[in-house]
Symmetry: C5
Subunit: 367 residues, 5 copies
């Protein structure tokens, strides 16, 4: 081991990958922390999965951070360490070993960053904002994932359930050809997953908008809250998705690092899909604004209808009152009052007037 070059080489850890990373996502706790006491001996709870890939294949699975570092120093290959919501203390040793820049470390620990790409020396730092549509509550959940990409290592720091990085890892491990292209291929795979995950979220929002359209044009005016909340989600989503265009563009144009031309094509594909999502979102924004305007008009229109209807009924009710008032007058000489059928006649008159008015209003569309 000592004869090998000391710099970048890693040992595989991740004994319990399938247990941790693929657990059902219902609970918000990090899977690693749920996996019990007997695991903590081997590696800190915060490490979800780690491995060293040599020539595109999983080579070593180290059991603790120290084993990872040892493996890294003694072997050639790419180390991919997957962390989940590490505390400052937990992250410190990783940062020290891989000489991560303190500014990037500060950002990685504070999960409230905008999507971005930064280069500190030889290490890239990428912030991604994954999203997930929660069907039960019809809301969008936004997460955050940070990726450090060095010459021979990738460190992923998840602050949310999404994206499913174990799936990404599995897909990459099945394609050694791709893994062999180096850390950039891993970065691509992660970004691709995040952007692919945007698709169903946009579909969910589109579906919500269609439901709102049905509501609005189906006569249910009380959609303001839903429109507002949807707008807020779209705005948040735009803040997650729109910066990716620039991030990927900078990567592709080789401004940040030299990118292999084939990886460049794959990045362009991700950018294209991210752009597609951005386009859809800006369309949704416009539609939601139109819905708000349309709804206001429909509310006003329905008030007009209402006033007509109410006025018609008022007239129908009031007309017999006028007749009753007439026959309540105290004139000495009012022949109808002395008719034998005067009272039924008056009642008939009242009913007739009302019925007549009813049909008049009906024909005019007031009722």
């Amino acid at each position: 081991m000592t004869s090998l070059p000391p710099c970048p080489s890693f040992v595989l850890i991740s004994l319990m990958r399938h247990l941790c990373d693929t657990l059902p996502r219902k609970h918000d706790l990090p899977p690693a922390r749920k996996s019990g006491h007997h695991r903590k001996r081997i590696m800190p709870a915060v490490i979800v999965d780690s491995a060293i890939y040599v020539d595109g294949k999983r080579a070593v699975e180290p059991g603790s951070l120290e084993e990872i570092y040892d493996a890294c120093r003694s072997r050639e290959g790419i180390a991919w360490i997957g962390l989940y919501k590490p505390t400052a203390e937990e992250f410190e040793s990783v940062a020290e070993e891989f000489e991560l820049h303190p500014l990037a470390v500060e950002d990685a620990l504070d999960a409230h960053q905008r999507p971005k790409l930064e280069r500190y020396g030889e290490t890239l730092f990428v912030v991604l904002r994954p999203a997930r549509y929660v069907d039960e509550s019809e809301t969008v959940e936004f997460g955050e994932t940070h990726v450090f990409v060095g010459k021979s290592f990738v460190i992923t720091v998840r602050h949310s359930e999404v994206p499913d990085l174990s799936e990404v890892r599995q897909r990459l491990e099945e394609d050694p050809e791709l893994l062999r292209r180096g850390p950039e291929a891993i970065l691509h795979a992660i970004m691709d997953q995040v952007v692919d995950d945007y698709g169903p979220v946009a579909d969910g929002l589109e579906n919500d908008i269609q439901e709102i359209e049905s509501q609005v044009f189906g006569g249910s005016a009380d959609v303001s809250r839903r429109v507002y909340e949807l707008s807020r989600e779209v705005i948040q989503f735009q803040r997650a998705a729109d910066p990716l265009n620039e991030v990927l563009g900078a990567l592709m144009r080789g401004e940040i690092i030299d990118v292999d031309s084939e990886v460049g094509r794959y990045l362009r594909d991700v950018q294209d899909h991210a752009q597609h999502v951005s386009d859809r979102l800006s369309g949704y924004r416009e539609l939601l604004q139109s819905i708000l305007s349309v709804n206001l008009t429909l509310v006003s229109l329905s008030q007009n209808e209402q006033v007509k209807k109410i006025s018609a009924w008022a007239a129908i009710l009031f007309a017999p009152t006028l007749i009753g008032t007439v026959y309540g007058m105290n004139f000495d000489h009012m022949p109808e009052l002395h008719w034998l059928l005067g009272y039924p006649f008056a009642l008939m008159l009242m009913v007739l007037t009302s019925v007549l008015l009813y049909f008049v209003f009906k024909r005019r569309g007031w009722l």
Copy 2:
């Protein structure tokens, strides 16, 4: 045949071009699939038309994909293969033969792309979003067409009825001069067709807007739904047409491939027409927003009118009630009550008051 250079040369297939591509477009099924069992023997249902053009003229019509490939390998010329909604399996062999990039293949099979232009090695991949105005339903139908342009081949993948590529092919075949300029001339002809088809769609939308204007100013306030749906169509149309400006610009500026200067002029003409459509669409968006505002104001105004009218009628009805109430009082000394014509007098008073009020309101414009 074997002595010929193996690279780009193709064999003509498309035995039933006029049967398939020019069938009536009422049914949404791909025409090829409708043409029956006896056709499947010669070429897969998905192939609408294929031919190899040598020196600007249709040279070979191969009967199956294999015949196409053979012809391609053995002869010089340009192969133009027309596919309609191929499945992944059906498209696989084409992709392999022409070494299409997997990312482009993925896009070509998933018909939900934004209009774009990408270059993978020597092959261009273009996504177009044709449109069609359906007169019966007064709606716009958006399609999708993908074009692969290589040194010696053009592969078109239609996912919708429009554009009528058989028409494009026919027009090109009638102009060998143009066809001789190579695959870019075919690409131009397709894009020109797509953009020319936009014209009638924009006309249809303009006509819809004029109808809505007539409705709104003709007193029919219930146009909100139509305005909303039109806005949605315009937004979708903008997403189809606006990116073409950039796509064509990149082509023309020679950023992607070297373009013959005459073809460049033709592309600029298409860009100019696409820009014209974009300009019109952004004007429609503004008009539709103004119509929404105007309609809301008119709804409010009509409510004002309504309230006036209703109030006037209420007064007309109520005034005689007041008179009736007065003569319903039980005072001992009310001279009118004892008049012989007291009752007719009161009725006349009621009628007169109402008539008077009617004319007062009429003159004031409340009725």
Copy 3:
């Protein structure tokens, strides 16, 4: 003649310039067509005026297209041919003689282009959208004019009454100095005329806006239609005027052709005036949007006023009814009923209550 260089030299035609081009502009027919049968012998109806200018002075007036071409070929100078709505057949011979590019010819025959500048080989093709404010109908009429500028010829194709090119021609002929600078000077003069004509149109729109302001703040709420139509005109006008900035900028920067620095200054002056119009128009758009908002608020406010007024009158009418109802009760012991002046007392009470209410409402500003 044969000893002269054959290339660019033209013969004067335009025998009836003052008859045709300066005819009253009330009728929408092309002036040339109205000038009768005896003219058709000499030159096609579609030619409004044509001349060849040598050394800044009108040299030859050819009588037919063939004479023009002969003159062009045999003499040096600048030919300026003025056409009015030529048909495809009529334009064909011109296009052939001057080798106009088919794409430009297609555009020139289809009068629905956006303002633009294109270069085909040595020939510039410019599309202009002149405008005219029609005082009678208070509307804006948009026209279209195409200009081909070659090394030694200018062909103008008018599709509308405006601009008055005969005026431009006359002014240029009075300034041989300017004409001597070549075809670009003629192009400048035409563009200058078009942009100068925009001024009165913008004035007309400004005047319309001021009238609408008076209406809105003068209490007349029914301006929605006018505002809407004005908005549409401003949008159309922007589509005519805004692209000129770019067109003139490209010309001035010498991107298209080398422009004499003095002509450049004159083009910059035109650009400056076009920009001024654009600025005014975008201001009008904002004002019209504000007027729509303001008008909606005023309509709502006037409804509030109305409801107050109507409610006040309802109370004034209803109060005596309550009194009448009280004295219509059948209690055995109601002293007022037996007073001699009970009835007048009740009537006075009714009147007094109403008058009191009237003044209360008056003081509170409800009436």
Copy 4:
């Protein structure tokens, strides 16, 4: 005199500077024209002040245009000629002497230009739009000033009272150091004055907006007109101030003329202040739009309040009517009718019901 170099040297005129340029600004007539007949002998009414500055100090005060020209030709120094609304005839001789470009002269005589900077040969032509807040009418008055800057002369053409160029001149004359830097220093001083004058105008508009806010939230809904007129003023002001950013940027970047680096810093300071005004104005636009929206909502809200109040009063009035109607019924057996205190009982019932309703509505916030 003849031995001096003939090129740029000027003679001082301006005998009555303090009389003319510093007169009270109440009347809109040009001060020079008001100063009487005895002045016209020495210099045309249109000349407000003129002087030739040699080595930073006022050297010659010529009495007429001819004396100015003579002085210019015979002495070195910088001539600063101040004109006020000259007619075409009056300006002709100046334009000829200093070889001003006809396009700039045309602009200088027509006071409807957008702020801009143009270079004609060695001469700069600058259009400025000064502004002034008129406290009495609470309106903004926009003026126009043109400046020609040559190698050795500055010609200012004012078309409005503002800016106070005599103040600028005085300040410069007190700082010979600055004047010695040449015509650019004078240009800077004028632009600085114009931009400094924008400050109080923006303050006036801000004050107006605060008053409107107080009105709107103080219950006075009738602010639409004021908001609208303020919006129009802000739009006009933006058209005056926003182009200065570009004008000053072009000057500073040395695109137009070489600018001394210190003068560059001063120009940047003016640009900074102009930008500050622009920022404030765009903020005001947004605030005014919000106020319009808010006002509309408040108008609707106040209608809701009103309808509640009116309905409550209607119920209070109507309840006793119902009681009265009950006791107006003619049943044989109605015990209350025969009570001695039946009538007072009924009246009390009416009053009690009304009072009860009053308090119910009061508690519910309807009254």
Copy 5:
């Protein structure tokens, strides 16, 4: 001392740093001015803290401005002078000693600048607009701070309580490594503090928006004023935060001064956080506009509900009146009138009708 190089070296002053700069921030007076008469002897009230840092450590604390200058001239190191709202006279001597440009001095004394960065010779001048969220009044308070950065000095001029520069100074003094990097490190630390302070302000605004959302959707329509005032604060905040992006970008790109690459990374971090704040603010603007629209719709909807409710109650009240009117008629033959239980029957009928109507309206959701 005299043998040392005379140029940049400073003496420490700031005897009372912890007394002055860390005083509670409740009172708006500058802390230095509150610290009493015995202090004025040593240094002008306007100086909050001053020190000279040699090799990253606080070296000298001069007692007066003169001592500062002496120290500066005689020793190497970085002087950091902290001033609080100096008057023109107070600032004059500082400006003279450090050769500050008069334009920057003018700006530094007038606390109404936009955030910017300017370079005058070797000295940078930076304007910052710190902000603070005042919990008691739920408002945002904007301050202003100016920073002069020379080769060997930093002068900070605070015009507001925020930012807490004593905290910045303390943090820097605890990190001599950083201080050793020179004046740019101090500039970074100040900008970082200002931008870090923006975070809680944005949080406060976000919290306000959430409260408004609860109000609006909780039925309280009277949020217009709060929305408006919040919009104004967001606009002001945008004017404070948005220009920082450009300021920091210019610094980082090395356009203004050469920046050490590590300091560059720190500046980029500040820029990133400033951009994050800008993004949040523009999201808030959009949300506030949506809330205004939504609120208007909800106000209209609540009017519809109200009108329904009121109309229902009117019908409930009016129906018995109709019955009463019927039995108030004076017909000779009305059997019910003579029934023994006629009166209770009528009353029951009235109550029944009303109850029936009540339930009908209840079921229809009108009540």
